[in-house]
Subunit: 309 residues, 2 copies
C-alpha cells in the first residue's frame, strides 16, 4: 500500500510528489501520458519565476526529472475510479487496482474546443485559451475573442490593454457575461463586437513559422461569410474539469470544492490545481496547490500511523 | 504615479512584479536590500520545482533578473507608512513619498530569534526555523526543536518521521500546543521532552564546513548546565509579520487578513506571501500569491481606468 497516490502528472501533481517524498512518504503519481498538464501545450512560458522564457514541454521535463530525482514513482495508466474505504483508498485503473492511505486529485481541466479547422494546428501559434498566460505575446496586435460569458468578456477587457484591437465574436445576439463586465467592455473603443456570428475556420501561414493570420466567420442571421485578419484567437466556450473519477463535493461546473488546506469533502482526499475551485488557472498556482495538498496529506497520513501504533 | 507599487522584493513581490508588467502596468518594487526574502538565507532549496538543488541567494538572483528583464522597476528604500487616499495610495519612504493606484504588501515575516551565541553563525548550517523547508536534510540525524507551541510540537512530529531522534526543549514545565498534538507527540518513542530548560549556546565546527554539533542548555529548576549532541536546531519561539506599515484588518498575530483573491480590507490594497494569513510559509506559496495578487490588482487598476474615461 502506498502512503500517497497522486492522480495527474502535471505541475500540481509533480510538485505534490516532490513535497510528499521529502516528508518521507512513499508516493506514486499516476499519469495519462509521458508529459502531462495543459502547460505542455504552451509554446513559451514567460511567467514561471526563475525561467524568463522556456517551452511548456521543457519546463515539464524539468519538473519531472526533479520529481524522479527525489524518489517519486510514476506510472502511466488511466484512472477509472477512486473508491473511498476510509483509511484505505482504492484506485481502479485500466491496469488493475492500487491502494493508498491518501489521494491527491490533480487531474486538471481542459478548455472546450470550437472544433473548427485550424484550431488544433495553430494552438500556441496564435490560438489560446488563456489571456493571463498568452496575452502579453500580442502587444499592439489584433485579437479575436470567441465567446460571450464572463471569461470571454473579462479577458477581452484584459487583452484590450495589450492588443491594438480586439474583436469579440459571439454566437448569440447578446452576451451572457455579468452586466458590469459588459458595460466596461462596451466603454472600451478598441473592442468591437460581432454578434450572431460563428467562427468557421482559423487560417494561417503553414511554412517554417506557423502563425494565425485570419479567421473566417459566418453571420448566422443571413449566412454570409466574412474574413477577418487577426494575429490571435482566444477561445472561451467552456472549461471542463477532469473530476468524474471521484464522488466529492463539486461546484456547479464540476470543480472540486476545497477548504484553505485543500481538503475535499472526503477525509484523506485532497485536490490541487486546475481541477479544484481555484481562483486562477496558472502554473504557479498549480505548483503551490501541489505543495500545500502534499503538506496536508502528510499530516493526515501521520495521524493514521499514530492511531495504528 | 505608478499603476502598482509592490512593497517587498522577496519571491512574492518579484512574482507579482513579473505578472503586473505582463499585464501592461507600470510597476515599482520597493526593497529593503539587494536580495530579499527569508529564502535568501537558505543554503540549499530543493523544493522549487524545476531546480533540484539551488541556493536561496542564487534562486532569488534568477527571480530578480527575470523581473528586471520583463521591465519591473526596483528601488532600495525603507517603507515607513502606506496612506490610503482611495484611488491614490501614498507610500512614505525614507527617501520621500511615492504614489500609486494600487499596492501589494509582500513584506514577509521573520521568525523570532533565540538570541543565543551560535544561532546566527550556524543559520542554514544546522539552525533552521522551518521543518517543511529543511527537515529533509536531516534524514536519520538528531534534531533539537525549541519551543512549546503548536508550531514546535507539530514540526517535532513531522521531523520525527525523518530524523532518528528529536529532543524538544521548552522553557516551561508544560507545552502550550493543542492537546491532540501533545498526545500525538508523547506517543512517538523517538521524541524526548526536556522541559524547564533553556538553550544557552549553539556550538559547531567552524572550519571549512560549518555545521552544528551540539547545544548547551540550562535546567531552569536547578541551574545545571548540560551538553547535548545534535545535528540540527529548529527554533519555534514566534514569528513576526512585517505589517506595521499599514492599517488593514489583521489576525491576532498581525498577519494581514485576505480573501481568496488576496484582497485586504482596503480597496486597492492586496497582500501576498508570508505577511498574510497563508496556510503554508513556503516559497511556492509566495510565488503563487504574488501572481494572484497581481492579477487581482490588475482588474482593480483597469476598473479605475474605465471610470476615468
Amino acid at each position: 500500500m502506498y502512503d500517497l497516490i497522486i492522480i495527474g502528472g502535471g505541475p500540481a501533481g509533480l510538485a505534490a510528489g516532490i513535497y510528499a517524498v521529502r516528508f518521507g512518504h512513499n508516493t506514486l503519481i499516476l499519469e495519462r501520458s509521458e508529459i502531462s498538464g495543459q502547460i505542455a501545450f504552451a509554446d513559451v512560458v514567460e511567467n514561471y519565476p526563475g525561467f524568463p522564457a522556456i517551452s511548456g514541454v521543457e519546463l515539464m521535463e524539468k519538473f519531472k526529472s526533479h520529481a524522479l530525482e527525489v524518489g517519486v514513482e510514476t506510472k502511466i495508466t488511466e484512472v477509472l475510479r477512486i473508491h473511498d474505504e476510509g483509511e484505505k483508498k482504492i484506485i481502479s485503473t485500466d491496469s488493475g487496482d492500487l491502494e493508498s492511505k491518501a489521494v491527491i486529485i490533480a487531474t486538471g481541466a481542459n478548455p472546450e474546443h470550437l472544433n473548427v479547422p485550424g484550431e488544433k494546428e495553430f494552438l500556441s501559434k496564435g490560438v489560446s485559451y488563456c489571456a493571463i498566460c498568452d496575452g502579453p505575446f500580442f502587444r499592439n496586435k489584433t485579437i479575436v475573442v470567441v465567446g460571450g460569458g464572463n471569461s470571454a468578456v473579462a479577458d477581452a477587457i484584459l487583452l484590450s490593454k495589450i492588443a491594438r484591437k480586439v474583436y469579440l465574436i459571439h454566437r448569440r445576439d447578446k452576451l451572457r457575461a455579468a452586466k458590469i463586465l459588459q458595460e466596461r467592455a462596451f466603454a472600451i473603443p478598441s473592442i468591437e463586437f460581432i454578434l450572431n456570428a460563428q467562427i468557421l475556420e482559423i487560417i494561417g501561414s503553414r511554412g517554417e513559422i506557423r502563425r494565425v493570420e485570419k479567421v473566417i466567420y459566418e453571420n448566422l442571421k443571413n449566412g454570409e461569410k466574412h474574413e477577418l485578419d487577426t494575429d490571435g484567437v482566444f477561445i472561451y466556450v467552456g472549461i471542463h474539469p477532469n473530476t468524474e473519477i471521484i464522488d466529492v463535493e463539486k461546484d456547479e461546473r464540476g470543480f472540486i470544492k476545497t477548504n484553505s488546506f485543500l481538503e475535499t469533502s472526503k477525509k484523506g482526499v485532497f485536490a490541487a490545481g486546475d481541477c479544484r475551485d481555484t481562483p486562477i488557472w496558472q502554473l504557479v498556482a498549480a505548483v503551490r496547490d501541489g505543495a500545500l495538498a502534499a503538506t496536508s496529506a502528510s499530516v493526515y497520513i501521520d495521524s493514521l500511523k499514530k492511531e495504528a501504533t
